[in-house]
Subunit: 282 residues, 2 copies
């Protein structure tokens, strides 16, 4: 067990593919590490310590900023494929030969691509708030997402109360607790991602979501045991997309949580850690 | 803890609503009991001891034959509503005031109705291999079910290898283990249900599945926390019906298992017991 936690793990750096990647690494040494793939405009500080520290009890946890994001150098590429390539370069530079991957939202798109590209590297895959290429309502931002991302919030991070949680009293209360947990790291926080990040990521997300022929066929190329998790009422990546993932992946389990939006794993953090831990242990 | 288990629990009898109900009761005394609702043509002996004994570690387990089935007297009614009423009479006769309900396939239809009728009695609900009224492909037996139930099997209980498990090697191997477990009770087994049972149950199932206006609206009347579980490829009650249940119930979690047919809980018995136990503990 490293003595570091979500709040105390130092930001480290490694060079690969012309990028200086920022990352943090903590938890139980010697296990298959769990690599986290972050969502749209997020940095390492957007992960919920209830998850990262929860998983760190049993395994090593690796957070990173992909190319062009916050404390990492370079520019954000405009395709999911290039993002997955950068992630591979980062992992190779760390000398890691086997890992489990957890991707949330856009991070799940990257994790899907990464698992296809690097089947020997990725043992198991967890996809949260996620959908397939050309999924339902994924050709552009959903109407709900346009409204939510278009509004102003004070403080700005209250945006996430609407992106990740439902309007119910219980879900909003859970959302406030998530924000408190997420804000609790005080030292050495990541700078907020700049506007160029959002533009490039939107371009990549729209290519991923664009209509295509037989769009789900590629999922057969992801043989890894996969756990798909979402909320019952995801308005950012519609929940049905998680069902479509499960139905088309060769070996996937689906879990949907009640009264949940895009970030249901932050609404039920203990349950989510239990479910994922069970899945990784089997 | 009662000293009885799935294999040793004696068949007991209680009179209610003009029926002599056969039942078995075992597990940890003093807890909220878990009442099992059986599928089409099944008796108490069709339950998997890996499940019943698994749950009995933490709680009391109650199995029963509803009116007209095997060792219970009377005639099988031709509606799910009447089946639910008989179940209520049985439970009242035992003097039970609070329980959790687990229904599998047709048993899940009864458990839904029972939870609506008796909201004070039912604390939590588990629906396995299940769907809503008027669900997809539920107006009659699915083409796959017609073929599977129409074929001959030797021994006859190998029918369940095709009803509950997928054609994959892994699933069929798990199916054979289920049959071994299910056959292992030697003393005091239930007689196989007679042909009148199947006829009446088919009539009830077809009424339940018949097309209707706004068929899922009734699900709003099931406020109990509900766990919906199915296999990824249920050909008896199509898997999408479990998704529809989750989407329309006020407070439901969904779990779908990979490479699973109608009886995925018997394919992954330890995982299922873990998932249900988590759900009941929360």
């Amino acid at each position: 067990m490293s003595s570091y936690s979500h709040h105390t793990a130092p930001t480290q750096f490694v060079e690969a593919a012309g990028i200086r990647f920022a990352y943090r690494r903590f938890g139980k040494n010697g296990s298959v590490p769990l690599l986290f793939f972050m969502h749209f405009t997020g940095t390492m500080d957007h992960w919920d310590p209830a998850l990262t520290d929860g998983f760190a009890q049993d395994r090593e946890v690796i957070l990173f900023n992909n190319a062009g994001i916050s404390s990492s150098s370079g520019e954000v590429p405009t395709s999911i494929e290039e993002m997955a390539k950068y992630a591979g370069a980062f992992i190779d530079a760390l000398g890691i030969k086997k890992l489990d991957a957890l991707g949330f939202s856009m991070g799940g798109f990257i994790a899907q691509q990464f698992s296809m590209d690097r089947p020997d590297l990725v043992r198991k895959l967890i996809l949260v708030g996620n959908g397939p290429r050309s999924g339902e309502g994924m050709a552009s931002l959903t109407p709900e997402a346009q409204e939510i991302f278009g509004a102003k919030y004070d403080p700005p991070d209250e945006l996430w109360l609407r992106v990740f949680f439902t309007p119910s009293k219980q879900s909003q209360a859970a959302g406030k607790k998530y924000l408190e947990r997420q804000r609790a790291r005080k030292e050495n926080r990541d700078a907020v991602a700049n506007d160029r990040v959002a533009q490039a990521q939107i371009a990549a997300i729209q290519k991923w979501g664009a209509p295509a022929k037989a769009p789900y066929a590629y999922l057969k190329k992801i043989p890894q045991p996969t756990l798909v998790v979402n909320g019952s009422n995801d308005v950012i990546v519609y929940t049905v997309n998680s069902f479509i993932l499960q139905q088309n992946l060769p070996n996937a389990q689906l879990i949907l949580y009640p009264d949940g939006n895009h970030g249901a794993q932050y609404q039920y953090p203990e349950l989510f850690v239990e479910h994922v831990t069970q899945f990784l242990k089997r």
